[in-house]
Structure formats: C-alpha cells, structure tokens
C-alpha cells in the first residue's frame, strides 16, 4: 500500500471529455492494494472507459462483495454510488438496485473467491435473469487476503507459492456464464489494457448480463513459476480470438484487412462494436462453436481472450418482467395510488 496521496497536478495537455472532465476526475483515492497488483490495472482501465464514454460519475453504481477485488471500487469513480455487500452477495443487492432504478449504469466488481466459491449461487442467478449490468471478475486464482491458498478458479496442476499442487478441477466462469445464458461474455488480462478497455466499453453499452473474466495476477502470492495466473504465464499462453473497436455511433463500414475479418455488431443503444478476428473463423455469435473452441483451448493450456460470446437478441430482466419504465424513485403518488374507484373495481372482480 501507499501512504502518499496522488498529487492533484496533472499533465498540461491532459484531454477533457464531452462533459469537461479529465481522466483524473474519474479516479478515487490511492490504492491500498499491494504494489503491482493486477487489480489496480483493471481499476485504471475502468477509469479510462468511463472517462472516454463521458458517463457522468453520479450515474454509475458500483457494487462489490468481499476480497481484494471487492476493495477496488474505492479506487476508481470516486464520485459514483458504491455498495460493499456481504461476501458473495453482490449479485442479489445489485439485482434489487437495478429493479428499483433502471436508469443507472451498474458495475459489479468481484473476485474468484467472491464469485466462484461463496457467491457461486448468486452469480448463476444474476446471469440467468439477464440483469442489465457489467460483471467484472478480477480473477487471480488465489486467496490473497488469507495469504495464498488456491481459489476455485486455480487450474488443476498449478503450483502454489508454498509449492503445493492444486488437485481440484477449476471452475471456468466463462463456460459457466455461457451455459447460464449470459449475453456478453469476454475474457481479458490486466496486463493488456489495449484489449481490456474496449472490452469493458462494449460490456457497459451492452443491454443485459455482461461478464468479463479478467485474469489479474496476484503479485504477492501467485506470480511465480508453476502458476497459471502469473504475468509470464498469461503472456506466453494468451490466445487472443479477436480485438474490439468500440464506436459510440454506427460507423461507415470500413474494410480492414482480409475480407470477412471484420464484423460490425450494432448494440441496442445505436453504438456498434467492430470485431477484428484474429483466430480464423471464430464467430462469437455461435454458442456451440464457441464452447468447443474454449474447451479445446483449455485442454491445450491456452488462455482464450477477447470477446468470446455475444447475443444482442435476448431481453433483459426488465423487459422479461414488464416492469415500469421509470425508476421507482421517480414515481409520484398519482402513479402509485390508483384510487378508490380502482379498488372497488378490483373488489368487484373478486366477488
């Protein structure tokens, strides 16, 4: 951790977004995580995303559970709404908040322990309900706060810092989310912001449950030879399937590279993402093909990253439940009290 406050001074040429804010206006207090933690890089990527999308900070709600990852919302978007829930219970609190006020941008920040162990049940139901939110798992395969035990996402055969080998099968949150009906599924790496920033941008704009599994090395307990979540291992085994360019408005179709290598997908808000394919014939819209690709990559010990799955056709929770259009706090007495005539009608119907 760091005792020194980050000076308010900034580079004279620091750009401003459409709201007149600089990137620095989207920061929080200085991180108290270990120096070099991958989570801090993810925080920096989130700051970059909200700055570039020019989202007013007070229109964002960031919710998290417990753990190193769940501490990080303090370190970004200092002017946004925040909620630290009980361990693993971020999804239900977020679902409730989303039902009450659908106008906010929801960001769920969790870790491998918070999502794949204690909160696995909550994780599953959030995905299957299609809550409109961005779920970021800061996945380091280790329990950092309790000094380096394997977490449920640690790969079989990977070594702990103390030298033990993990004999349990890992939970793959990406594969799980696929089977549970999440509609935007991606994997990133904290050490590659060029890939991560557009992924988060597209996820934030996606309507429905978006999950990004971000491999985020734990410098203190899981960055050694034998770990499969170290900077070196992920760099050596990163199998990037595609790159994203997020565009706020639908662009003119530009042909880039070989024919068929660029696919433009329009999002609900009218924005678009341009998917530049790296792996031949990888189409994130074909679920079965995606599953077999991911399984093959896993068997080969590769870490597939990029936008892995996208379905823009499924309704989110509010559409499915046919909820009221406005946030509950915007409903006036006239909306909430139907009056005695309506009550009389209801009573008559029950006689």
């Amino acid at each position: 951790m760091t005792y020194l406050a980050k000076p308010k001074l900034h580079h004279p040429s620091l750009p401003r977004n459409a709201l007149g804010y600089t990137r620095r206006d989207y920061e929080g207090p200085v991180s108290t995580l270990c120096a070099g933690c991958g989570h801090d890089s993810i925080s920096a990527a989130i700051i970059q995303v909200f700055f570039e999308l020019a989202i007013p900070p007070h229109r964002v709600a960031k919710l998290s559970g417990i753990g190193c990852s769940s501490k990080t919302p303090t370190y970004f978007l200092g002017q946004s709404h925040g909620f630290n829930t009980v361990h693993g219970r971020m999804p239900s609190v977020l679902t409730g908040a989303n039902l009450a006020n659908r106008d906010l941008v929801y960001l769920g920040i969790s870790g491998d322990g918070d999502s794949a162990s204690i909160g696995l049940g909550q994780f599953a139901h959030l995905m299957r309900r299609g809550v409109n939110m961005t779920y970021i798992v800061e996945n380091n395969g280790v329990y950092g706060l309790t000094k380096g035990q394997f977490s449920a996402t640690a790969d079989r055969g990977s070594k702990s810092k103390a030298g033990y080998s993990n004999e349990d099968e890992p939970i793959d949150l990406v594969m799980l989310a696929l089977t549970l009906g999440a509609t935007f599924i991606a994997r990133g790496f904290s050490g590659d912001k060029a890939q991560l920033v557009p992924l988060i941008k597209a996820a934030v704009q996606h309507k429905g449950a978006a999950i990004i599994d971000v491999v985020s090395p734990c410098v203190a307990f899981n960055n050694h030879p034998g770990s499969t979540k170290s900077y070196d291992y992920v760099r050596a085994h990163n199998e990037t399937v595609n790159f994203l360019d997020y565009m706020p408005e639908r662009p003119a179709i530009v042909d880039e590279g070989a024919p068929g290598s660029v696919t433009t997908v329009t999002l609900h808000d009218g924005g678009a993402i341009r998917v530049r394919r790296v792996a031949a014939d990888y189409d994130p819209r074909r679920k079965v093909a995606v599953m077999s690709y991911l399984e093959a990559a896993r068997e080969a010990g590769e870490v597939a990253t990029g936008l892995l799955f996208l379905d823009e056709s499924v309704a989110d929770l509010h559409d499915a439940q046919n909820t009221v259009e406005r946030p509950l706090n915007a409903l006036a007495d006239a909306d909430l009290v139907p009056g005695s005539a309506a009550l009389a009608r209801l009573n008559a119907a029950l006689r």
């Binding site: 760091t2 020194l4 406050a5 308010k8 900034h10 991180s31 120096a35 890089s41 050490g191 900077y231």
Partner: protein, 619 residues
C-alpha cells in the same frame, strides 16, 4: 532509440533544470533541502563552493535557474491555475540562496585556509571583480600567489560600483570579498593597469584579465554637447553615486535604456531627489533586456516605463537641458521574422526634464592591451577567447567575466573564473588545457524503508511566496536602505517546500520489470509509457501524453520481456516517487544524483560502493 546512458553525468544533470541552467552549476535542490532542514551553514557552503558569492548573488543574480525551473511547467494546466488564471511561477531559488546567507552562523572555520606552503607560481589578476576573485579563490588555497590589481580602493568591481546599495549593502560585499582575500591573496588597491606588456614583463606565470566592460555607451544625437552638464552616462553615474561623489539629481529625470542598469539608474534617481522619474525605451516593454522582476521593482516605486520611443534630440536653453524629443515607432516584422522599428509618422513626443541618464549599453575597452603581444582581437575589438578554457591566443593569458565575451552578469563571471582557474593550474603544470576534469557524480538510493524516502516527496500546491519589502516611503528616503528584507525562516521553509527535488532521479532497471503497469497507472503526470520502440520523433507522439518539449530528454530502457521498452518523458515529472512506491519489484528506484563541478586542483569524488546485496539486486 538507443537505451539512455544514465552513467553519463550529463543525463541526470540535465534533468535538474536549475542546476543545468546555472553557469556555475550550483547543486540547487541539495541546498534548498538543507534550508528546509534549517542547516543554513551547509546550504551556504554548498553555494560558496560553487558560486563564491552566495549573499551577493542571493540579492542580485540574474537567476537563469528560475526560468528553467520545472515547477512552473508542472503547474501549467493545474486545477488551481485554471481557476485563478495566474501564471505559474518557479521556486524563488535566488532569494532562498539569500536566506542561507542571512541565517548562517560562523562559516569561516569551515573554509579553506591560506596555503601553508606556496608553490612558487605567481598569477596576476587584472580587475578586482567577481571573475578575478573567483580565480583567486580557486588558486590561492593550492599555493599560488595571486596578485589582484584594482583601480579602486576596495575589491568587488561592478558588484561594488554599479549595483546600488539599496539592493546590495556594502557589508555583504565586504564579507564575501573578505573570504577570498583572507585566503592569502595579495590585493593591490588603487592600481590601474596601463600596459599589459608591463605586467607580462614582471615574470608572472599567468595573467588573468577580469577587467569587466567598463565603458558606458553614449547617445550621439543633437543637443548632446550643448546640454552635456545634465546628461550622464548610466554606469559612470552609478559608480559616482556609489562612492558618494554624487548625492543629488534634478526633480524631473528621464532614463534612456531598458536594461538592468537603466532600472538601477531610475531607482537610484528616485532616492536622490528625482520626483518624476521616467524610463523610456526604444523597443516594446516585453523585449526590454531588464529582468522582469527588476522592471516590477522599478514600477513598484512609481516609475513609469514608456516604450516604442526613439530619442531624437536633447532640448536645451542657454546651455541647460530642458527635455528630450522622441519619435514614435512601431515594431514590424519582415518575412524572416526580424524586427524593425518603423516611425509611425505621429508627432514627436517630448519629455520635459532636468537630468538624463543614458543607460543604452556597455562596451569593452582594452586600450591598455598592446596589439603586438600575440593576443588576437576580432573586428569588434574583443579578444579571441576559447569558450571552454578561457585562454586567449597568447599562452598564459586568460580572460573571464565581461572582459571575455562582453557584458553578462555575476554568475557568468564566476563560471568563467572557475574555468580559467582550471586552465591556469594546468598551464602552470604544463598539462593540456583541453583535458577538463569530469564532475563529481554520485547516484544514491533514497529508499529508507517500505514507504520511507529520505526526502519530502509530498507535492505542495503553494504559490510562490513574495519577498517582504521595506515600506516604499521609507525606502525611497535613502540610497542605502536595503529594499528587500529577505525571507524570514518560516517563509524560507515554505518556499523551500515548493522545490520538486528534481535531483532525486527516477532510475529504471529493465531486468527487474514485470510490466504490471503499476507505475503507468499511478503516475500523476502521465510521464511513463510502455510501448514498441521507435525513433525519437515518432515515439514522442505516441506516448500517454505527447512529449512536445524537445528540450527535455526521453529516458528509454532496453527491451523488456514483451519486446516493448519503457519510455519516460522527463519534462513534467514531479519526482514524487509514486512509480517507485508502486513498483512491486524495485525496478524503479528514487536515487539522488549529486553533481558537483570539479574546480582547479580538485578531483571528482568517487561513487560509494553499494553493499553486496544491493549490487546483486541491481544486476
């Protein structure tokens, strides 16, 4: 790009902008930290060693360090300055130097002693100003017998004769000139050298000419002769004032010229009976040669400055000056950007006045140097002097200060003096003058513990503190009352805290880096980028923040594991150390660079050997 060679002392020296800009290369941040710690003696001695006259320079220096100061660059665009629209200002380096001089105790015991044994070499120094005194300061302790020839009764040269006492009291000059003369220097007062041939005939081993630029330029326009009684040459008038020969001037005074001498003239005139004093300059106000703070001081004393007026004639009646007539001009720029002053055709402007002070420049004059001595002069009558060795074309004769390259300032005279002293020492030993001694260059980690650094790295948002002034009514009553009161200890501490400690360098070890981005994310100034290598011009444009200030270097590492390189733009680095603080592997470290020029007879200090463990980690 080629990885940066940080073993070259110049690389980190350049990062310390103030020190690099100083002609004498005084280690500024080092002494500012000592002031903050209340170690005024140590702060003074660092200065004394480097620039010989800290008390004098702390009041009068032309301060090339301050425009170079990084502080004003980093405040550019800061939230506070956006609100106030105030111009960011550098650290008040010069006035902090004075604070060290003001608050020090008895430093005499810590200064070198006169040489116990003379080495038998005799050096003649012509002129008793800052250049000659610096040569004497460097050479006397080595055993050289230095003879200083000065036409006036006391040593100090222009520091004593041309700088008004209300800016620089005699007591300060006496003290600091005294430190030099006490080193066993022979001071020959009241001796005006009329012939260099004669000096050379006296068997000196070397001669140093530090005679200054003693002739004020005149203004030859109609009426000059008729009104001569009330027209004075600025520097001559100032020295007459200094010696007490002149103590009055007319009620209405016009000062012609826009340099620092003009500012001294007008402020002196204000104190000697001048009630309506005007400064009139040919050029625009912005282009005036005077330092901005000297103009400010003059205007503070109720002296208006009029610009774009070219003197046309002195007006007189019955042999008495009545005024001056000026033509109005405007600046026009030709295709090559050269400025031309073109008459506007408007009617002439007249200033009624009783006295005129002409301060339109100074010239060198060497009527006493015979032209057949093997000392070459150029077509402007200036000696041909080597800019590194200060040697003339005749072996054994050296020049320095204003005598070498025309009017500059005290700190340049000191720098010349150090260089000439090295050359004279080498000349007397029969060594090659061009082999210059390297500086002392030490680089030492400032890490004291996990979150402990040996320097104060919290950046203070404070604005520059003003030096308290004597009340103008009192100040204007006497030519001798010092106007600036100097910082008190508390103000000096606050101002010292504004220093960014640019000598505490960000040092990067590429072999230790795991490319986690922690330093990139934390850097408040977006100085650090990890990216593919490229050539400099192209690289400068694809950093996190474009590195447009090409005067500032890029620090480039060797290739990292991902084949990328670390590129750091030194321009607006706060030296806050957050990169090192957030680095998990110690690839970044904050190391203090101590760079000290080596003077005559000295040897650079050796880098202390790091402990074995630290050395292994750095591998």
């Amino acid at each position: 790009m080629k990885p940066t060679d940080i073993a070259n002392p110049d690389y980190f020296h350049k990062v310390v902008d103030c020190q690099w800009a100083c002609p004498a290369h005084t280690p500024v941040p080092e002494y500012i930290r000592l002031i903050a710690q209340g170690r005024y003696d140590d702060a003074y001695l660092i200065n004394w060693k480097s620039n010989v006259f800290p008390g004098i320079l702390g009041r009068t220096c032309d301060r090339p360090c301050e425009p170079a100061c990084r502080r004003s660059r980093v405040e550019e665009g800061s939230p506070e300055h956006r609100k106030s629209h105030a111009k960011p200002e550098p650290v008040a380096i010069c006035r902090l130097k004075r604070a060290a001089a003001d608050f020090k105790g008895d430093v005499k015991p810590r200064m070198p002693r006169p040489a116990a044994q003379k080495n038998g070499k005799r050096i003649a120094l012509v002129g008793g100003g800052p250049a000659s005194l610096t040569v004497a300061r460097d050479l006397a302790p080595l055993g050289y017998h230095c003879e200083v020839f000065e036409r006036d009764a006391k040593a100090g040269g222009m520091m004593r004769t041309q700088i008004p006492k209300f800016r620089l009291p005699d007591s300060v000059i006496d003290e600091e000139v005294g430190y030099v003369l006490d080193l066993g220097v022979e001071f020959r007062a009241g001796v005006e050298i009329a012939s260099l041939r004669e000096v050379l005939g006296q068997g000196f081993d070397a001669v140093f000419v530090g005679s200054g630029a003693p002739r004020g330029r005149d203004l030859d326009i109609p009426g000059r002769n008729e009104a001569a009684k009330n027209i004075h040459i600025g520097i001559d008038w100032l020295s007459s004032v200094s010696f007490g020969h002149v103590d009055r001037i007319g009620k209405r005074v016009v000062v012609l010229g826009g340099g620092n001498t003009a500012m001294d003239c007008c402020r002196s005139a204000r104190r000697l009976g001048g009630e309506e004093v005007h400064v009139v300059v040919r050029s625009g106000f912005e282009e005036m040669k005077a330092s901005p703070w000297e103009k400010e001081d003059a205007m503070h004393e109720g002296i208006p400055i009029h610009n774009y007026l070219v003197p046309k004639a002195f007006l007189h009646e019955g042999g008495k000056l009545t005024g001056i007539a000026f033509d109005k001009v405007a600046a026009r720029y030709d295709a090559k950007g050269r400025r031309e002053l073109v008459p506007t055709g408007e009617p002439e402007v007249r200033f009624a006045c009783d006295d005129v002070l002409v301060a339109v420049g100074q010239e060198n004059a060497f009527p006493w140097i015979e032209r057949d001595l093997g000392i070459e002069f150029d077509k402007w009558g200036m000696p041909v002097v080597d800019r590194v060795t200060m040697a003339s074309t005749r072996p054994g004769v050296f020049f320095g200060g204003d005598a070498a390259f025309g009017p500059k300032n005290i700190i340049w005279a000191v720098a010349h003096g150090h260089d000439a002293a090295i050359s004279i020492d080498k000349h007397c030993r029969g060594e090659d003058l061009r082999q210059r001694p390297p500086p002392t260059f030490l680089l030492v980690s400032q890490k004291m513990g996990i979150h402990e650094w040996s320097y104060d790295n919290a950046i203070i948002p404070d604005r520059r503190h003003r030096v308290p002034l004597k009340d103008t009514v009192i100040a204007l009553k006497s030519i001798k009352v010092e106007v600036e009161l100097g910082f008190d200890a508390k103000l000096a501490w606050s101002e010292a805290q504004r220093c960014l400690n640019c000598d505490v360098q960000t040092v990067f070890a590429d072999k230790l880096c795991i490319e986690c981005d922690a330093c990139v994310d934390i850097c408040p100034m977006d100085c650090i980028t990890f990216t593919g290598d490229g050539d400099e011009a192209e690289l400068r444009n694809r950093l996190r923040a474009p590195a447009l200030n090409v005067a500032q270097d890029l620090y480039v590492s060797g290739a990292l594991k991902t084949t990328r390189v670390m590129v750091k733009d030194e321009d607006v680095c706060l030296h806050c150390g957050l990169c090192a603080e957030r680095c998990p592997t110690g690839a970044w470290d904050m190391k203090k660079s101590y760079i000290e020029m080596t003077h005559a007879g000295g040897r650079p200090r050796a880098q202390p050997t790091p402990r074995a463990a630290a050395a292994a980690a750095a591998d």
